[in-house]
């Protein structure tokens, strides 16, 4: 099985054996309550220098309240998994938290070229599908997975992927290195206090993200009884033993949507996109992150009850989003 081509970039180290040991020694195999605040969860489980994965994005069932908390706590030197993203990467880089991005898709604008030019940020090139496949490899405990895309691109040369001769067909096939993030933040519809969680509707890679990551923080719209989850075990997307912290975060995806629960806030979306396209996040971060001490205060003072009621009203579809 010859290596035919290799990407030349640095990539987050592939280490399934050490991940297995981490799982054995540090994952909470026992059912213990993990219900804590945003503040405590980010303090305890997000460390400077971590590789951070978030599932979905700031506008679509993403862990927006946890992203704001990470910026609020001024975490630093994060390496982020920038797939399927409009503004999350921009906020984390401009908020001073992240200096490396594996790119699938990110919302652009002048901020990104500036960050690269000023050497505030290093970019590694992938695609949404390849980054997500890397998480899948990480979630299967494997060092790599094959794929039949991404070869031949200029991104390939700036990635950690390789093309090898498939020992079965003798044809070239791409290998994507596994990704086991230090920490993942994932927003879910429902979780129990132990971290058994349900995501309704389509998604990017919530299960892969949880199983692949050393530390996992869930933010949940609703905290439900374990017995409620046991009534319909096929709905459980994430098992408790993958999870370190459960944060109750109603409207945690604001200004984004949580399918079946509330719509996005178009004004809030436009405000964030505007900051990104102008390349100036100072006002946005001040208002939406630093002006308040917590998600609860943010909902109370910045968003307001009227808006919350409005976005809930504007989500008029329930089918498929309840157990």
């Amino acid at each position: 099985m010859r290596i035919l081509e290799e990407g030349k970039s640095d990539y987050f180290k592939v280490a399934p054996d050490s991940y297995r040991e981490f799982v054995r020694d540090h994952k909470p195999h026992r059912m213990v309550s993990k219900l804590i605040t945003h503040k405590e969860a980010v303090e305890r489980f997000v460390h400077d220098g971590d590789y951070l994965a978030y599932d979905c994005n700031y506008f679509q069932r993403g862990p927006s309240s946890l992203i704001r908390e990470i910026i609020r706590q001024r975490k630093q030197k994060l390496w982020i998994c920038g797939k399927f993203t409009y503004v999350a990467c921009a906020l984390l880089v401009e908020g001073g938290c992240a200096d490396r991005i594996d790119i699938g898709f990110i919302g652009f604008g002048p901020w990104i070229a500036r960050a690269v030019r000023e050497k505030k940020c290093t970019i590694y090139e992938y695609s949404n599908a390849i980054v997500t496949l890397r998480l899948k490899a990480g979630a299967m405990g494997l060092p790599f997975l094959p794929a039949r895309s991404f070869g031949g691109t200029d991104g390939f040369a700036r990635s950690g992927c390789k093309i090898v001769e498939d020992p079965y067909t003798k044809k070239p096939v791409l290998l994507a290195p596994a990704l086991n993030p230090d920490v993942a933040i994932i927003h879910v519809h429902q979780a129990d206090e132990y971290g058994n969680a349900r995501v309704f509707g389509t998604g990017i890679a919530h299960q892969e993200c949880a199983l692949a990551s050393r530390r996992v923080i869930l933010s949940a719209e609703e905290i439900v009884e374990t017995d409620e989850l046991r009534r319909d075990p096929a709905r459980t997307s994430i098992p408790h033993f993958a999870v370190d912290a459960v944060v109750h975060a109603p409207f945690g995806a604001y200004p984004g949507t949580v399918q079946g629960y509330y719509a996005s806030d178009p004004a809030g979306v436009v405000e964030a996109m505007g900051a990104m396209f102008s390349g100036d996040f100072r006002e946005y971060l001040k208002k939406h992150v630093h002006s308040v001490a917590s998600h609860e205060e943010y909902l109370e003072k910045v968003v307001g009850a009227k808006k919350l009621i409005e976005i809930r009203r504007r989500e008029t579809i329930r089918e498929g989003y309840g157990a």
């Binding site: 679509q60 990104i112 991404f150 031949g152 200029d154 399918q259």
Partner: protein, 279 residues
């Protein structure tokens, strides 16, 4: 039920072109929104009611409720309404690997003679000097794995280049056999490129060939807006304008807020001729 329209814009023109390619019997993978999704939604409401499409978040065959809120083309209840199946991104990639995606439809920033797609950087990559864009996103897997890729872009010299500044998603790379050498499945690749002014196909040499133009431009005008000279088909066809029926559906049901179509110049029928309205 087919009345040629007399007043429409460039964006509407191109959406109607692509919509007519779309048939009931195929499975499509559509990019994040914009013209590709509008084309498919239009076809589903006109010529191809049973058409099914996939999106990157693993939704199979939805009966989408339009309009969507801004950017809410995936992982949202209206876009994913009453689907046949809900999956995830890796599931969508599995289906594409398996060959279920007959057509991928992609809006692109910059394209070259071989159909290579740039959505990463215009200008120099190193040192962040070029103008940076969002990266391949889901386009890389569509371009690699769909049997036929349909590209949509604007007819502008800076968008049609001899060689893209960065291959974000693969066209024919540098010619016959190159895709396979880099691990992509055989018999796949760019099939059509649509702009508001023209339609291109590909010859056996994997190079772009002008096949048809809009009735409101000339071949010369089109060629002016490429920075390389494509092959020319033996006979250059003239594309049919949108019908009133298509435009009614597009404007009243699909792009009510004008998020997709409210760009580009207008065309009108004047003195028996379709003409670009001068701004």
């Amino acid at each position: 039920m087919s009345t040629p329209a007399t007043h429409f814009n460039e964006r509407e023109f191109v959406i109607c072109q692509i919509s007519r390619l779309v048939e009931d019997r195929y499975v499509y993978w559509v990019g994040g929104g914009g013209e590709p999704l509008s084309s498919v939604l239009l076809a589903k409401r006109t010529t191809a009611p049973n058409l099914q499409y996939l999106t990157e978040d693993g939704v199979v065959g939805p009966e989408a409720l339009v309009p969507f809120d801004p950017l809410m083309t995936m992982i949202s209840s209206r876009a994913n309404y009453r689907a046949l199946q809900w999956g995830t991104m890796n599931y969508a990639a599995d289906l594409a690997h398996l060959g279920y995606v007959d057509y991928g439809i992609l809006a692109t920033l910059q394209v070259d003679r071989y159909g290579n797609i740039n959505s990463t950087v215009v200008g120099k990559y190193a040192g962040g000097e070029g103008r940076r864009f969002g990266g391949p996103g889901g386009a890389d897997s569509i371009a690699a794995l769909a049997w036929r890729t349909i590209l949509v872009t604007d007819q502008q010299k800076r968008k049609f280049v001899e060689r893209v500044d960065f291959i974000s998603s693969p066209g024919f790379l540098d010619g016959p056999g190159a895709r396979e050498r880099h691990g992509l499945p055989p018999n796949t690749g760019p099939w059509r490129v649509y702009t508001p002014w023209a339609m291109y196909g590909y010859g056996d040499d994997c190079q772009m060939m002008l096949q048809a133009i809009a009735p409101f431009v000339t071949v010369e005008q089109v060629l002016e807006e490429l920075s390389f000279r494509p092959a020319l088909a033996a006979k250059i066809e003239v594309l049919e304008v949108p019908t009133e029926e298509e435009l009614l559906v597009l404007r009243s049901q699909i792009d009510v807020g004008g998020q997709v179509t409210d760009r580009g110049r207008w065309i009108e029928l004047k003195d028996g001729q379709y003409q670009l309205v001068q701004a």
